[in-house]
Homo-oligomer: 427 residues x 2
């Protein structure tokens, strides 16, 4: 019956996530199998999300995809992996039944839009692939292990298939069937938890130490250490051609085998018991270890800049003033900080940020997302911050919280593809 | 006979040194015994040195010391260690003979002056303690293992007791008798080698992440890991009260046991064979590992700032352009870079530095030390530098080379103490 409709489409949204136990190092590049498990917090889609519409029609001549309004090459191998896997699962599911389902032979049109600023430095590929896979699954009526499919688009995308607190089990099987995401706790579990994304200014012309140095490296896509599994860098680093020191590889393997298992268990406990003190400490330590490892590669990779370092210092000073961990930072592959804190601390810490990084009047709204109340800082707190103000060091703050996993949108007006199967003009 | 002189004095100079295999982590705080061997290059005293005069007289009522013209507490425990050790060695040497030697019962006056800018961030304590020990040894006629005494003043000072290329054997004995420095090659061995100290501007108010965060840490002066020797941080970090993660300690121990022995041997080979390619690569890797380790402590220590990172990037780009290692960086506990290169590359690389960091006209002389000829950079080289100019990022450059060990000064006018045993007025 569905097959008789001229066009069948589904529109969904998916969240991004921020890892508190970091994923880096792959044991299989094609299947995106990691060398260690990781754990993340799903961010709320009210502030940061991807929206995707997927449609099929007998009239479509070929698979096509538009990202943020621009048509892209549908042949990209990771995109193809996801499409192929969903269609395979759909075929498998249908064997024996043939109900109210869309024909697998029809071509698909996909349109996807990110509503979060690229400057936020959050992994848009996580939300993007999660949304793609979730939307295709809705379209084809697939319900089985979707995180395994999303993982093949972008490793961290598998964690965006769930809301709340999510762990990605590294798995052991060579085919990756057990390298899947699982919810540790739902988004309702820790309602006081807040997340601030501090978007750092590009102070100077983009001298990305990375891009600068990348020209200098030879190609070395698969790295072997004696007695160890071959390790690949996470694609989020876009560093497939990086030379890595033997010692660094051993350090990565050491982390994967000796550090992460304990940290995963401890982090799950922190979340289950809503132990912010321990949650914050471990989050900061794992972030630091990630960046230490990047610095020990060769040529070194330095994602943190002076503003990042000031934020690190500020967080430790603020916590020291209160004698406990009230805020915690984590950094991914860029200088922007993601801050975890509790609802009761948001207003004061934002005031602290504004004290140290007075917003520049550039028309940009400094506070985005959840409402933040202005607070007058006490002189005591101010004097506990051992730094001079640095105007404009932070461009803006997005205040958000833990959120749910991917959602289906029912409202036709939010579809990204028109009745003709082409992207609607941007309104 | 000497005992009848009203005042006997000796004046000496000593060099600083820069480690290419870094020392960090102590197994004995009091004796300053390291957990790994290290290797350094002695810098030339024409550019950077400490001068010390030590005098004894029957008229002196007590031991006294002046540093850079200001009287300091002679009771400082490391200073006392050095004084006590030299006097003990002198006593030992004299048992049986009693020639033309100064009386050990007389009190000593010491004056010491550093002629290198504190901003250079070079370990003035290395030159300072080396000079103190060498001068006292001349005064008391001691010739035996002086590096072992200097080590008790400041770990890296033991390496400043020799010119050229120097290794500090970590040793194994609990009393530290085998934790001594030894020359790998004299200063004449590699005459083409040049050293550029790039003094980075304090771009912002000194927010030393270190000092900022130090307020937040508890005291933990001796750290034990299960199954490992207790480890202390190097005093150069001034971080005796730092909390260190278990994992970091294991990483330190891992480095000490599994990485450094191989690197020491390889570095000695590079020097002996004047293999700049391998020397430079290993120097950079060891510096990066040091800073990675600092970042993986908790709270993290970040010594490199944005300018340091730009220099790192610049070095890798410059080498990539030529397809070989023509320059190499190393960083100690601060943002200033020490660059190794060969004589033939100095002029061009300085021109590159001036291109990326145009000197600001602040009255400061930009080029200090050995003469550097202006060079017009080719457009090809300029376009290989993937960064916008950052005016004033580097305050000045000190160009120097490998130099000799401590020296005795014969000229009376260079003595720092007058006939009255007090510091001469600064001329």
């Amino acid at each position: 019956m569905a097959a008789e409709k001229p066009l069948v489409s589904v529109t969904c949204t998916a969240p991004t996530n921020i890892a508190v136990i970091k994923y880096w190092g792959k044991r299989d590049e094609k299947l995106i199998l990691p060398i260690n498990s990781s754990l993340s917090v799903t961010l709320h889609q009210n502030q940061l999300k991807t929206t995707t519409t997927a449609a099929i029609s007998r009239d479509f001549k070929e698979d096509r995809i538009w990202l943020n309004g621009k048509e892209e090459d549908v042949g990209h191998h990771r995109l193809q992996s996801c499409l192929r896997e969903i269609r395979r699962l759909a075929r498998k599911r249908r064997s024996g039944s043939d109900g109210d389902l869309v024909p697998l032979s029809y071509k698909v049109h996909i349109a996807s839009v990110n509503d979060f600023p690229t400057a936020a430095g959050l992994a848009s590929s996580a939300a993007g692939y999660a949304c793609l896979v979730y939307t295709l699954a809705q379209l084809y009526g697939v319900e089985s292990e979707l995180s395994e499919v999303a993982r093949q688009g972008s490793g961290s995308a598998c964690r965006s298939m769930f809301g709340g607190f999510v762990q990605w089990h590294m798995g052991e099987r060579p085919d990756g069937k057990d390298s899947i995401a699982q919810q540790v706790a739902p988004e309702s579990h820790w309602p006081e938890l807040r997340v601030l994304v501090l978007v750092v200014s590009a102070e100077r012309k983009p001298v990305s130490s990375t891009s600068g140095m990348q020209t200098s490296v030879e190609t070395s896509s698969l790295l072997k250490t004696s007695g160890h599994t071959p390790i690949l860098l996470p694609s989020v680093l876009a560093l497939d051609s990086w030379i890595i020191s033997e010692n660094w590889l051993i350090a990565l393997q050491f982390r994967a085998e000796s550090v992460v298992p304990g940290r995963m268990a401890e982090m799950a406990r922190c979340i289950k018991e809503r132990d912010f003190e321990a949650f914050g400490q471990l989050t900061m330590k794992d972030s630091n270890q990630f960046h230490a490892t990047c610095l020990d590669t060769f040529p070194p990779i330095c994602y943190l800049n002076d503003t990042s370092r000031q934020i690190i210092s500020l967080v430790h000073c603020f916590n020291a003033y209160y004698g406990k961990t009230k805020v915690a930072y984590t950094f991914d592959a860029g200088p922007n900080a993601v801050i975890f804190t509790l609802e009761e601390t948001v207003d004061e810490f934002v005031a602290v940020i504004k004290q140290v990084f007075p917003p520049e009047m550039n028309g940009d709204k400094f506070l985005k997302g959840l409402p933040v109340e202005p607070v007058e800082l006490s002189e005591e707190v101010k004097s506990a911050l051992p730094m001079e103000p640095f105007p404009g060091g932070i461009r803006y703050i997005i205040t958000t919280q833990v959120g749910p996993g991917p959602q289906v949108l029912e409202e036709p007006q939010r579809q990204l593809l028109g009745p003709d199967g082409l992207p609607k003009p941007v309104s």
